[in-house]
């Protein structure tokens, strides 16, 4: 028993069960309760600029299918509303598109990228799906959580600067492990580079997105093993009439 505990401690996965996100009952997730910060009497309206954008989005669809614009408009609303979709945002979108509010609630509750609770200034989403997990996302998640002041996934830091959640695959497996901060991917993370990225955000800077390991994209980190020669130029190796 003792040995087991030590080995766990050594691998520093002490807090890692089957899932480390705090347990949320489905009720908390999929029923709206009026609160001080989230109730229909709080006004919400698109800014002038966003309204123009919204009209442009709506114009993409035939007039009888205005409601097809619900997802982009909710996203626009979420961006304007400090990164979360309040009930007022949903009601406003419903009104704008002329659809019953419930149809909007259905969309907003179905898609996990609509945050229906307020989040911090920076939204940190750590991928923990299999490829990232195999490449050490557990450590990344633990680093993020402890570095931000011992919070748990799903929580916001006391200063309101960061919210951390675990997410499923973001499609950047070739650069695992990775996390998303706001709209940008930070890939090829290690505990050290994770801290660096977070520190930069804490100071209000925006570090360069993409691989943090020096790679440009998802090329072999050990350098090219094939196609090392100079690529053909146009006309090379062609018969004379094509040169």
């Amino acid at each position: 028993m003792l040995a087991l505990r030590r080995s766990i401690a050594l691998r520093s996965i002490a807090r890692r069960g089957l899932s480390s996100s705090s347990v949320k009952r489905s009720d908390a997730l999929f029923v709206h309760r009026d609160t001080k910060y989230n109730n229909p009497s709080i006004p919400f309206e698109f800014s002038k600029e966003n309204l123009t954008k919204a009209e442009e989005i709506i114009a993409h669809y035939p007039p009888q299918y205005r409601k097809a614009a619900v997802i982009p408009l909710l996203d626009l609303g979420q961006r304007q509303n400090k990164g979360w979709t309040s009930i007022s945002v949903m009601n406003y979108v419903a009104k704008l598109l002329g659809m019953p509010p419930m149809r909007v609630y259905e969309v907003a509750t179905f898609y996990t990228m609509f945050n229906r609770e307020p989040i911090g200034d920076n939204f940190v989403q750590v991928c923990t799906t299999t490829p990232c997990m195999l490449r050490g996302s557990t450590e990344i998640l633990d680093t993020v959580c402890s570095h931000l002041g011992d919070i748990k996934p799903g929580e916001t830091t006391k200063d309101g600067k960061f919210t951390v959640i675990e997410v499923e695959c973001q499609g950047a497996c070739s650069n695992a492990p990775m996390m998303v901060v706001n709209d940008d991917f930070y890939e090829d993370l290690t505990a050290a580079s994770t801290k660096k990225v977070l520190d930069a955000f804490a100071q209000g800077q925006k570090p360069k997105p993409g691989p943090q390991s020096g790679r440009h994209t998802s090329e072999n980190s050990a350098g090219l093993t094939a196609l090392t020669s100079k690529p053909y130029g146009p006309g090379e190796f062609c018969t004379p009439e094509f040169q």
Binding site: F30, P40, P101, R103, E106
Partner: protein, 751 residues
């Protein structure tokens, strides 16, 4: 969400979805489903396929499940319902199809010509057992305390496809979902929900409650409104029937009875003039609940909440013994004393001829109306009043031609109409089931609706033309966009509210409409179609008109000395002369009884087998489910007894003889379940007569007002009902139930 979006797109195509299937075909070429994402493909020829080795022929476009049913194979299902859109999310209806690698959900699969289907193979069994196991993994084992027990689809089907032991050993237990508060009618127990979404589809398609939906996804998907809200619909009770498990059960009926204890009696509803077919479930002498009975010509399989839940009013405020007024109080009396008191009162009042007045109320049955009319006529009077505003005068539309006061286009005919004009009516409150047909047609075809009268939330969009005679005059003159649409329509329809005849401008409005219909008879009154329909709202009214229970002109000006209130509880007390002798016959101690000198207790609609004529003129037979309480008696027998006591006995001693008398009056009164059409020449002649009798009627310009302010309380039974009182509080007054959304716009403005 994805599921719900998908299913709203699909149109349910049933062999038995009423006439809509056909009307969709005809309209889709004209304007392809305006409010649908896609309209049903036109139905073409029949196709033949083989189900379990049996050849079966079904119309093209049928679902495979319908073909299987036609072949006599029983397919288990939870989400599929032939009157709702197809969702295909329960996966219980899996069948094996030749050359298909996997079992196929038969509800979502169109039947294909020549395909071979098996419904009873080991593969099918295994697949369904797997589905059942998953459903039961999160379903609580609380059948002993579940109200659905005994009539639960899940319970029944688990008998066949369920395992006898569980493989589910999750430490965290089964999924837990919070119950929702949908109001005083529907009780929720959301842990039991299997997410079939029947209630969501019903609410969105039929009832027009677009607040109900699914939130979340996957294992956390739940049914609800997201925000806290009650289900404010007059059709909400139907989701209790639709729910295949015990997630939605009836609140008033909760823990009252088990289905196997109940006696089922097939009867007819009297809460409105639609004549919904109902099944009265009783235990002993008590009505325990009321359920709908399928009748595609009348109510499909829905009933309104008043029909379903007003039955507890039958237990309260009942008159159980004859009462005589002595001074300021009523004293109980025997029937002999009461009948003698009526005879003495009639003699003492000195009423002669038309001074004897009978007033027929909302819940008077046809037999009694005939007996009452015969009795009053025998006494030399023609003073047969109706219990409504202006009921002592002959009705504006007359009663000589029945197409002048009946719903001529028939209730299923509503689905054929392409433009409907509502005049002075809110069908949602006056005939809730009919309103859902209009909504169905509005949703699935290009139906256009216009409204003249008081604005109302109708569950479908409409063009508002104005509130009174002025708007009607404009419409008749062909002014406005809606009049243009109406003119261009192939099967236009005018639904005239029964209250129009009671309005200040009623006569003028009828005159204008009669002229208009006559002018446009090529579309409005043809051999196949009669688009001039009067929507009656009171169960007894069509019958009263049919038997001629209306005063003559002379009688209507006579001051009565003897007033017989037959179920009349809406009377204006001031309209009854102070010195008149008043007899009340009815089943509830409501307003009418309080005005009476003698009160005679009678049977309510669940306690007598009588004829009811609905707004179409369709006669239907109600049946007694329970005995009348105390000393109360069947209505027509009371009148027969009074006729004996007053010395002018009526010539019928049993109900059969009375029905022979009804046959003499009009054979259609006793041709049950049939509806007789008025031929177009007669209908037109009726309209000309109507136009003649209302010629020169004055126009005051006053708005047409809605006759029903509170849907939940319109007659003595619903007024005595505790459930209806709770509904009034929750839905009409909006008390007690928190609401967190903005409600500026009616839901029907969307969709």
């Amino acid at each position: 969400m994805a599921g719900s979006a998908g299913m709203l797109r699909a149109v349910s195509r049933g062999t038995n979805t009423g006439r809509l299937g056909k009307s969709v075909c005809s309209s889709s070429s004209r304007k392809a489903g305006r409010r649908q994402l896609s309209s049903t493909a036109p139905r073409q020829a029949d196709i033949t396929l083989t189900v379990d080795g049996k050849e079966v022929t079904v119309p093209q476009g049928s679902a495979l499940i319908q073909a299987c049913e036609a072949a006599g194979a029983n397919i288990p299902r939870f989400c599929y319902h032939d009157r709702l859109a197809i969702a295909g999310n329960c996966r219980m209806c899996l069948v094996e199809v030749e050359r298909s690698p996997k079992p196929v959900a038969s509800c979502a699969m169109p039947a294909m010509p020549g395909s071979k289907v098996w419904t009873n193979t080991p593969l099918v069994h295994e697949a369904r057992e797997g589905v059942m196991e998953f459903l039961l993994a999160n379903h609580p084992l609380d059948c002993p305390i579940c109200d659905q027990g005994g009539e639960c689809d899940l319970q029944d089907q688990s008998m066949r496809y369920g395992s006898d032991r569980t493989r589910f050993h999750e430490i965290t237990g089964k999924r837990a979902v919070e119950n929702k508060d949908l109001g005083p009618l529907v009780k929720t127990s959301m842990n039991r929900c299997i997410q079939c979404t029947r209630c969501v589809r019903f609410a969105n398609e039929v009832a027009g409650v677009e607040e109900l939906g699914t939130t979340g996804r996957g294992n956390d998907l739940q049914i609800g409104m997201y925000v806290e809200k009650t289900m404010d619909s007059e059709m909400s009770g139907n989701i209790v029937d639709l729910c295949p498990v015990g997630a939605l059960t009836s609140k008033p009926y909760a823990f009252h009875a088990r289905p196997w204890e109940l006696k089922n009696t097939e009867s007819v509803d009297v809460m409105d003039a639609v004549g919904s077919n109902i099944r009265v479930d009783s235990r002993g002498v008590q009505v325990m609940r009321i359920q709908p009975r399928t009748n595609d010509d009348v109510n499909e399989e829905w009933i309104s909440d008043k029909t379903r839940y007003a039955y507890d009013g039958l237990k309260f405020q009942r008159l159980t013994t004859p009462l005589l007024k002595q001074g300021d109080r009523f004293v109980p009396a025997s029937w002999e004393e009461a009948l003698q008191a009526v005879a003495d009162g009639l003699a003492a009042s000195g009423a002669k001829g038309d001074e004897i007045q009978a007033v027929a109320g909302h819940l008077a049955d046809t037999e009694t109306l005939v007996a009452m009319k015969d009795f009053v006529n025998r006494l030399g009077s023609d003073n047969l009043a109706l219990d409504q505003a202006g009921g002592t005068a002959p009705p504006v539309h007359g009663v000589d031609v029945r197409s002048n006061y009946l719903f001529n286009s028939t209730i299923p005919g509503v689905e054929e109409a392409d433009v409907i004009l509502l005049v002075g009516t809110n069908p949602r409150h006056e005939a809730a089931v009919l309103n859902s047909r209009i909504r169905k047609s509005w949703l699935h075809t290009g139906l256009e609706v216009g409204l003249i009268g008081e604005r109302a939330d109708t569950a479908y969009g409409y063009d508002y033309l104005g509130d009174g005679a002025k708007a009607l005059a404009d419409f008749v003159a062909g002014k406005g966009a809606f009049a243009e649409k109406f003119k261009a329509a192939k099967k236009p329809m005018i639904i005239v509210g029964s209250a129009l005849a009671e309005q200040a401008d009623g006569a003028a409005a009828f005159n204008a409409l009669a002229k208009f219909v006559e002018k446009n008879k090529e579309t409005l009154v043809t051999d196949e179609w009669n688009g001039f329909s009067v929507l009656q709202r009171i169960a007894s009214r069509p019958a009263a008109y049919e038997v001629g229970f209306v005063p003559s002109k002379k009688a209507s000006t006579t001051k009565p000395k003897f007033v017989y209130l037959l179920n009349a509880d809406e009377v204006d007390p001031k309209s009854i002369p102070r010195d008149a002798f008043v007899v009340y016959q009815g089943h509830h101690g409501d307003l009418g009884a309080s005005l009476a000198d003698v009160v005679l207790p009678a049977a309510a609609y669940t306690e007598k087998s009588t004829t009811w004529i609905n707004t179409e003129g369709r006669s239907q037979l109600g049946r007694a489910a329970v005995p009348p309480p105390g000393a109360s008696r069947e209505d027509w027998k009371i009148i027969r007894a009074i006729s004996e006591a007053t010395g002018s006995p009526l010539p019928y001693d049993d109900v059969l003889a009375l029905r022979d008398r009804m046959w003499e009056l009009s054979p259609s009164l006793v041709r049950y379940d049939a509806r007789e059409r008025t031929s177009s020449p007669i209908a037109l002649a009726g309209l000309r007569a109507l136009e003649a009798r209302t010629r020169g009627a004055a126009v005051s310009g006053r708005a047409f007002v809605r006759p029903i302010a509170n849907f939940y309380m319109t007659d003595p039974i619903s007024r005595a009902s505790v459930t209806m009182a709770q509904c009034t509080r929750a839905f009409v007054k909006g008390e007690e139930y928190g609401f967190s959304g903005s409600r500026e716009q009616p839901e029907a403005a969307f969709a």
